[in-house]
């Protein structure tokens, strides 16, 4: 059976009424959190994990994926109407989108964002469906050492290669790895780093950590900021529909954004923002209306919005086929799979094809739902923008603690929430990235297990790690990804001095 047959079967699963309901809840929640600044898809999925504990696994995962897609749609609304991105992946949209809204072209800006997101989501989800089986075929021959190498590569790219500081990225990663060591050792049953505290024997909950980092840390950071600007909603004036000229100028950026965003999402690069920046730069270089850039060019909204949705789908490629999360949201979704005793990867395609293909197919349905939710019903979401900040953050912290208490109603767990929240605040203050600590905490135990398995197969011979060509190549890429940016950065610093005026280097 080819990918196409699987996809049709998946559509049959995803079209069951209950699954449709889960998808609808997911995309509605996702759009809402995308619209609301200060709360993103990673946090929402983390908050929902304890609530969905008793629900259906396939339905819950469909809901999580809907939240992820929905967040990418909703973020653009705030960017365009408020100049306040609801999501960091929508920052670029604010650049041209808000200018358009101020000129009374908010309608076409919202429309090109929503339709572009739809087209990108559609193409990228189909790419995911048709790429997945071949990656799975390759991954089926992977043994422990290949998986270990793959995880090392993910560690390096998430923390060092793509950040602006290898030092801070690696520090964040190693803090995550250190926290991952807490608890009972999986292979020998010995308690590690638990200091006789019984609550620590189970290890540190990924959800507690994620909620603390994304809800508490973020709230503390926003509360501490000075010179708060008043937010002002720009009313949508004029027609919401795009003119013929708008369509003519939008379709190419949509496609280019899709093909920029998808591979970047699939690479372990951490986050959808990179694709949006690249798309903006590309559109500005290729446009026939350069004078409009900075004054509200529709290409500058169409391209980046397509790119961020495509990279959301791209992120699902390594997550579903290899079990490898490449962004904070993907890491939390991995925790969602594990909560139901499922491990995404090639084996899941073989053992539970209904679930995997139902999930992929549901993305197509979710995407169509989102188009309906975001175009005719845009007025509803704009109302959400008027929730004042005090109530918004008070509500976020209420639900953040609700999730933690629901998972484990102990003061100790709340204490961990508070402690990690303060840690997240300090990390933001000093410019440490958050994604590596979350990825380290969730991938650390898996990497350790694979390493120890590989070494016990080889009876302690470390050279086994590079004796398989795939593992050797992956470790080689990881080493390059660690070292090359360091060299480039060191060289780059010298060049700044000599090329202060130049914009090329």
């Amino acid at each position: 059976m080819g990918a196409f047959d699987f996809l049709l079967q998946g559509l049959a699963t995803a079209a069951e009424p209950m699954m449709l309901l889960y998808a609808l809840i997911g995309v509605t929640l996702g759009t809402a959190v995308g619209v609301l600044p200060g709360i993103g898809p990673a946090l929402t999925v983390a908050l929902l994990l304890p609530v969905t504990y008793r629900l259906d696994a396939a339905g819950s995962l469909i809901m999580f994926a809907g939240i992820y897609y929905g967040g990418m749609y909703g973020g653009s609304t705030t960017s365009i109407l408020l100049n306040t991105p609801g999501e960091s992946a929508s920052i670029i949209t604010a650049l041209e989108g808000n200018k358009m809204a101020r000129k009374g072209r908010g309608g076409p800006a919202l429309a090109t964002a929503a339709i572009g997101s739809f087209i990108a989501g559609l193409i990228a989800t189909l790419l995911l469906a048709f790429l997945a089986p071949s990656i799975v075929k390759v991954a089926l021959v992977f043994g422990p050492r290949e998986y270990f190498a793959l995880m090392v590569l993910a560690f390096v790219t998430v923390s060092a290669a793509f950040g602006d500081s290898a030092l801070r990225g690696l520090t964040s990663l190693f803090l995550g790895l250190a926290l991952a060591c807490v608890g009972i050792d999986q292979l020998t049953g010995q308690a590690r780093l638990s200091f006789g505290v019984p609550e620590l024997l189970d290890g540190i909950e990924v959800t507690t950590m994620a909620v603390a980092m994304f809800a508490v840390g973020e709230a503390l950071f926003i509360a501490g900021q000075r010179n708060v600007q008043a937010d002002e909603v720009t009313a949508v004036k004029g027609s919401i529909w795009m003119s013929r000229a708008d369509w003519a100028r939008s379709w190419k950026p949509w496609l280019r954004g899709t093909f920029l965003g998808f591979p970047i999402g699939a690479m372990p690069a951490g986050g959808a923002e990179i694709g949006t920046f690249l798309s903006y730069a590309t559109e500005k270089k290729l446009t026939k209306h350069p004078e409009e850039f900075g004054e509200g060019a529709i290409e500058g909204v169409a391209g980046p919005e397509a790119a961020n949705n495509a990279s959301a789908a791209g992120t699902l490629v390594p997550l579903l086929t290899l079990g490898l999360p490449t962004s904070a949201t993907a890491a939390i979704m991995l925790a969602g799979f594990q909560q139901f005793g499922l491990q995404p990867g090639p084996l899941l395609f073989a053992t539970n094809p209904t679930l995997v293909w139902g999930l992929i197919a549901s993305l197509l349905i979710a995407n169509a739902m989102l188009l309906v939710l975001n175009l005719p019903m845009i007025g509803l979401w704009v109302k959400l923008l008027t929730v004042p900040k005090p109530w918004l953050y008070a509500g976020i912290l209420l639900f953040a603690t609700l999730g933690t208490i629901g998972a484990n109603p102990s003061s100790f767990e709340l204490g961990m929430l508070l402690a990690f929240g303060v840690l997240g605040y300090v990390m933001r203050l000093f410019g440490y990235p958050i994604a590596p600590i979350v990825v380290g905490l969730i991938l650390g135990p898996m990497a350790e297990q694979q390493l120890r398995r590989a070494l016990s197969i080889s009876q302690g011979d470390w050279t086994t790690l590079v004796q398989s060509p795939i593992a050797a190549v992956l470790l080689g890429i990881a080493a390059l990804a660690l070292i090359v940016p360091l060299i480039l950065r060191a060289r780059g610093k010298g060049q700044v001095l000599s090329q202060l005026a130049g914009d090329e280097d």
Binding site: P50, V51, L167, L170, T171, F174, L175, L177, A178, C181, D185, L187, T188, Q190, R192, L193, F195, V216, A219, L220, A223, G224, Q225, R226, K389, P390, W391, Y393, A394, G395, L397, L398, F399, T401, L402, I405, G406, P409, S411, L414, G415, L417, L418, G421, V422, Y425, L429, F430, G431, E448, L451, R452, L455, S456, S458, Q459, G460, K493, V496, L497
Partner: protein, 164 residues
Amino acid sequence: MTSPEPQNQRRRDTAALVVAAGLAVIAGVMLWDSARLADLGGYSGVGPASVPRVVAFGLLGLSLWTVIAALKGDFPERPAQNVPPVLWIIAGLAAQLLLLHVTGFSIATGVLFAFTARAFGKTNLAMTLPIGIVFAFAVWAVFSQLLMLHLPAGPLEHLLFPGA
């Protein structure tokens, strides 16, 4: 908000030195803890203590690197912070933690709600506290009664839901 070019700020960064010390302390604790583990490496030679040791040495190295970066002033400038709102939120979370099993979910979370609103500019606690308690109670009712989440009940919850 702005991050000036690193060349302009080649000064010692004391706060970053504290971070470096913290990393070294964590590494030390991990090494101490791994020393008391019986290393059942078996055939592989890699036991439960090995990975914590590797991570600890990594942290030591990063601590050293942080010291160098701090002395060179390589850290990005930290945005100026308004301390009182931050403390209000921390106080709210701490109050909820302490009150949770005494007064139940609604009152404890209502305090957190009111303190957080206070941090973001709603200073009238006489108004926000009742709103927070009522809201938290509604949330408690939905999640504990309908979705069967275990949320600690207190006097307020027992009063309105005698069975809880």
